[in-house]
Amino acid sequence: MRDFLESAVIGFNSFVIIYFLALNSLYLLIVLIASRAQRRAQRMSSETALEDLFANPLTPGVSVLVPAYNEEPSIVSSVHSILDLRYPQLEVVIVDDGSTDGTFDVLQHEFELQPSTRVAAGVVETVGTVNSVHISRDGQIVVIRKENARRRGDALNVALEYSRYPLVCMIDADSVLEKDALMHVVRPFVDDPERVAATGGAIRPINGCPTERGMILEKRLPKAWAPRIQVVEYLRSFLLGRVGWSAFNGLMIISGAFGLFRRDLVQQIGGLTADSLAEDADLVNSLHHRLRREKQDYRIVFVPHPVCWTEVPENLKILGRQRRRWSHGLLEVLWRFRQMIANPRYGRMGMLVLPYYVVFELLSPVVEILGLICLPLGVAFGILNWKMAVLYAIVAIGYGILLSVVAIVVDDLSYKTYRRWKDLGILLVAAFLENFGFRQLHAFWRLRGLWSGIRGSNASWGEMPRVGFKETSGASG
């Protein structure tokens, strides 16, 4: 019996090690592909192309869709940051999704909104009843007040119904876009209008950056360690990971915080799935599903340069809730599109991307938590030599740190976002600290999210309390 247990524990620990080696090696490969794609893009970047895009009267208009639920502290700054974007033709469609705070009041006061009527396109089904529509004097801002349906997807569908331009940009109410961000994400559409269906931009945490009227004055790291660690996570997964996947048209997620879509295509697939917890991933997969089934030549592109800055949770309780929701949402999306998994009809999405997400994203918290339980148990029962256990842990954790360090290096060489030496040092320390406590806690949150997804329990969006941006009249020390 003891022999069997010993073999089982050693076998499982070896499996865990191989699993994490494979996971991190794949990620390392993706990051290296991303750095190569980025280097090439940088060598062929062109300011004149952006100038032309701005100057051309035939540049397609963009409707920026902003679902807002209890966003009183940051909504005005966000809308200002959108209005200040360098883009020739845009409207902002905000959906006040039944906020119980002063979201609408601050908007009405700041932008002198007037009640109006507006004809909805009547193409996409929506759930929550629209109570009223308000517009600014210049007609550039439209605010729709609706009943809360506890789903971000429904708020976006309402915004889609009331939007007018051929491209729709979906952002979070607490997002702050860089000045040229829209032009960068629109450029793939005008350079390849037949094929590009959607584009997404990079997301970075805004916590710690001084801002004024929704513009970032200086790019800095957050003060607390939890958001600092999230900066490393975002670099690895939301920036370089997505550049890598995008390089071979395998982008499965465009973050809800900043994505641009062809309005007609979103309408054709019936809008966003209103009851999905991961409506952003769901939308992208719906596009893949439809366009691949119709055998269309299309591209979903990630553009790393324009940055959308967004507030990330500083508090572990809220962070945990967010990560549980993401994990639950991922399960929902993979289940909804299960017929695509390992199905050659869906090309590399079916044969590579979705299987990767099942094995290495969805199931990784299960393997990680079981590994965390097995290792000390093996030592406690004398099945594993403690020295071996320590070596197992060092290798698994060390490879994770190495991956984060590679991501930091690539980011520093390619984007040079954080200029201060102190920030580079903090990022390297965060890459180290992430693996001691945070990563294990993260695995636990994701496991809970997975479990709630399996049980089919209800969860909803919009419960992240905002502290608002750090408004200042000038950057200080």
Partner: protein, 365 residues
Amino acid sequence: MSTGAILLIAATLNLALIIGLSLTTALLKARRERRARRHEQELALLRPVMMRYLATWEDGDAHDLADMLIGYHGVTTSFEELVAGLLPKLRGADRSMLVDILRRRGTIDQARQGTGSRWAVRRYRAVELLGAAGVSEGIPDAAALLGDRNTDVRLAAVRALGRIGTVEAAAALLEHLDSDEGRKHPIPPHPVTMALLRIGTDATDPLTRALEAGQVEVRTIATEVLGVLGVYPAVAGLQARMRLDPSASVRLGATHALGRLSMPSSAGDLTAMLRTEEDVEVLAAACAALGRIIDPSTIPDLEHAVAHPHPTVRVAAAMALVPFGATGLDRLREIAQRDAEGGDAAREVLARNSIATDTTPLISL
């Protein structure tokens, strides 16, 4: 080798890589900062020389400065880099003088040779430079790259032709798009329209000829650009395209153009279009065009279009009635009383109009 030994080697290797990468990043960052400082110092020396040259060349006593610029070679800065940033901001003789320096440095010849490089990045940079310099001898080189296998190079060639900005550049661009080679490596319309708009009225003749091109994309581009450039002699050709072209995108482009040109002679064709056209976008564009022409005889057709089943057409038609002033607003108020047949569009447009003109809402919301 035992499992323990393998793990030990892996852990050591990991640690070495982490430390090595961290140190390399720090070293590269330090080097980058040193270079940036030196770059600034070099620019601080070069910039005043260039400015002095631009300020004094007309007096004829700037030969020394010109020689200095022609012979300049920095460690971190090239003359070309500084000029590339400056050229788009300069016009006329100052610009020509700088281009002349580039020519005497051999930069233009090098760029022309560079367009034949086997490396895409070199071809790209070469054609970008030819475009920034705006030298007409670069037209054949840029035109040859319109069929390049690399998309970024093709787009850079389009932009370069737009910046060189002559009738030959416009003709080369449009002829390429309508050729077999152009079909093999298609170029998207947006950069082409911008290049033609930069060329401006010099592009009128090639654009008018392009209304009869074989390729739908070329005809669409020609219609849109003729409208934006305001080429009134092209009205008859545009009306013909709007009436007869089998492609909805060409009809749409021609309708947009006729709206921009706002010639009363187009009103008849546009109202006929409202009765026969099926494409929603074209119908909406026709309504918008009638709203710009403001011919009272078209009001009944617009009223009819306000009741169109598609909301895009309904709203466009209702908006087109606003510029007719009191008459149009009266009609909209009547329509706004209806529950269906465009009542919603009329109410929306009246509300928007009252907000925009700061008047009391004319209907209850």
